[in-house]
């Protein structure tokens, strides 16, 4: 293998490069990215960086000289347009082409769009996925302004908390019965209380019918059966979708992401995938999953590099993510979907919520309780029974 092309210049891509070099790969590496920026870190974009000013140097995943030291040719600001697996050729939007021996698909996810269809002037709506998005949103977060967030997912709630802390008047709208319902089910109600206490207006179980531009700037938002809301700023945050458009017609098997085996190899032997875009078989849970979490992108990037170089190991992991909202540091390990057992234990400013299925502990949400989190992860890995877990782990100090 002489030339590896990594498509997607972000977390999974950078870690794939590191994984290749750490394993002694000395061939050529080209990093292709749609954004013109050097790879940067996304989690701060909805948290401290959004309020504290976006400092490119602090957000950078690696210092600028790292790419040269690692012998990486950068093709930034040049989205990949099409892939021809047969001749192993990648076409760029710019018209250029790259021939490769091995390819890493690491194009992550892009924001889902819903509200722009409802708005006569979609340019007034904000979204948040990239540094440029954060720049635009951050510039407009001024105390006293009114922000409406559509979608009570992690990013929507984090922005709501950041904006509220800055002194904006914030409303969050979500069609589900409680925030974070997709991941946490009913247990997401904990976040309603958190936000309400801090003065955020959380409106669940409703949606948006129309978003009309206001003459003086901003928009008027109408929800079914509800009073209208005037907003200076509107953030659409209804989730993300795997960025696979460029792979349509490539013949790679796609199904809510790039379908991979347990070792992160795609349906083509010399193409692997990693990060938000990869749907792989996680042997630890015995199911296929796709995970939009930071740690997953780091570890999959490294693992996929090994697979590309001929290693055959399965990528087995317990998904993990964190979210910071107001004073709550919430960390989640495992899976909460289709839980048939849930226990909620609330302490003074902490909480532990355990999720079980088929008599075993599968997931845990720990708020301001990092030590318990570590114990839960071990318990999930070891397949602790639900009865033992519920008796042992939930107690909040």
């Amino acid at each position: 293998m002489d030339h590896v092309v990594v498509v997607g210049a972000s977390l999974a891509g950078v870690n794939a490069i590191e994984g290749l070099r750490d394993r002694g790969f000395t061939g050529e590496i080209t990093l292709v990215g749609a954004e013109r920026h050097l790879p940067y870190d996304r989690p701060p974009l909805s948290k401290e960086a959004l309020s504290g000013g976006l400092d490119g140097e602090r957000l950078a995943l690696r210092p600028p000289q790292w790419y040269e030291e690692q012998g990486v040719t950068l093709r930034l600001g040049e989205p990949a347009r099409a892939l021809e697996p047969g001749p192993k050729r990648l076409w760029l939007d710019s018209g250029g082409q790259l021939d490769f021996d091995g390819l890493v698909v690491a194009t992550g996810s892009s924001v889902r769009r819903f509200a722009h269809r409802l708005c006569g002037d979609p340019a007034r709506l904000c979204q948040l996925r990239t540094l440029d998005d954060a720049q635009r949103l951050g510039d407009q977060l001024e105390p006293g302004r009114r922000l409406v967030v559509l979608g009570a997912g992690f990013i929507g709630l984090e922005v709501a908390a950041t904006a509220r802390t800055l002194g904006l008047d914030v409303t969050v709208i979500d069609v589900a019965a409680s925030p974070l319902a997709r991941v946490l089910g009913e247990a997401g109600a904990w976040f309603t209380d958190l936000h309400t206490t801090h003065g955020v207006d959380i409106r669940c179980g409703t949606s948006v019918d129309s978003i009309d531009p206001r003459s003086g700037g901003g928009v008027v938002v109408r929800s079914p059966g509800r009073a209208t809301l005037e907003a200076d700023l509107f953030l659409e945050s209804v989730g993300a979708a795997p960025a696979v458009d460029w792979l349509s017609g490539s013949g790679l098997v796609l199904e809510d992401g790039v379908v991979c085996g347990s070792d992160l190899r795609t349906s083509h032997p010399d193409i692997v995938a990693a990060g938000d875009v990869a749907r792989w078989h996680n042997d630890l849970f015995g199911e296929s999953m796709r995970v939009e979490h930071w740690t997953n992108a780091v570890e999959q990037g490294r693992h996929a590099a090994g697979t590309l170089l001929g290693e055959r190991e399965s990528y087995r992991s317990i998904p993990y993510f964190w979210t910071d909202q107001f004073s709550a540091k919430a960390r989640f390990v495992g899976r909460a979907d289709a839980a048939d057992d849930i226990v909620v234990e609330r302490g003074e400013d902490s909480a532990v919520i355990l999720f079980g299925r088929d008599g075993r502990l599968r997931g845990a949400l720990c708020i301001n309780a990092p030590r318990r989190l570590a114990r839960c992860r071990i318990a999930i890995r070891d397949g602790m029974s639900w009865t033992e877990a519920a008796a042992d782990l939930a107690t909040c100090a």
Partner: protein
């Protein structure tokens, strides 16, 4: 060869990712919201875990070195 874990508490932002990756090496101060390094010199058998905790730290507060090149 043993390895050395270098931890910069001033960079730590309390994500607890390190503790998740390697509970043998890390503990956590829940009052101050900062990680605690339990052992700075770590045996070879814990290398993979030590490295995973360094990679997993979003704040770049952890570095791992070989004892001989330190």
């Amino acid at each position: 060869m043993a390895i050395i874990v270098k931890f910069d508490p001033s960079k730590c932002q309390g994500y607890a990712n390190c503790l998740i990756e390697a509970p043998e090496i890390w503990d956590f101060d829940e009052d101050d919201d900062v990680a605690l390094l339990l052992q700075e010199v770590v045996p070879e058998s814990l290398r993979a875990k030590a490295e995973a905790s360094a990679r997993g730290c979003p704040a770049h507060a952890i570095a791992v070195e070989n004892q001989s090149d330190a």
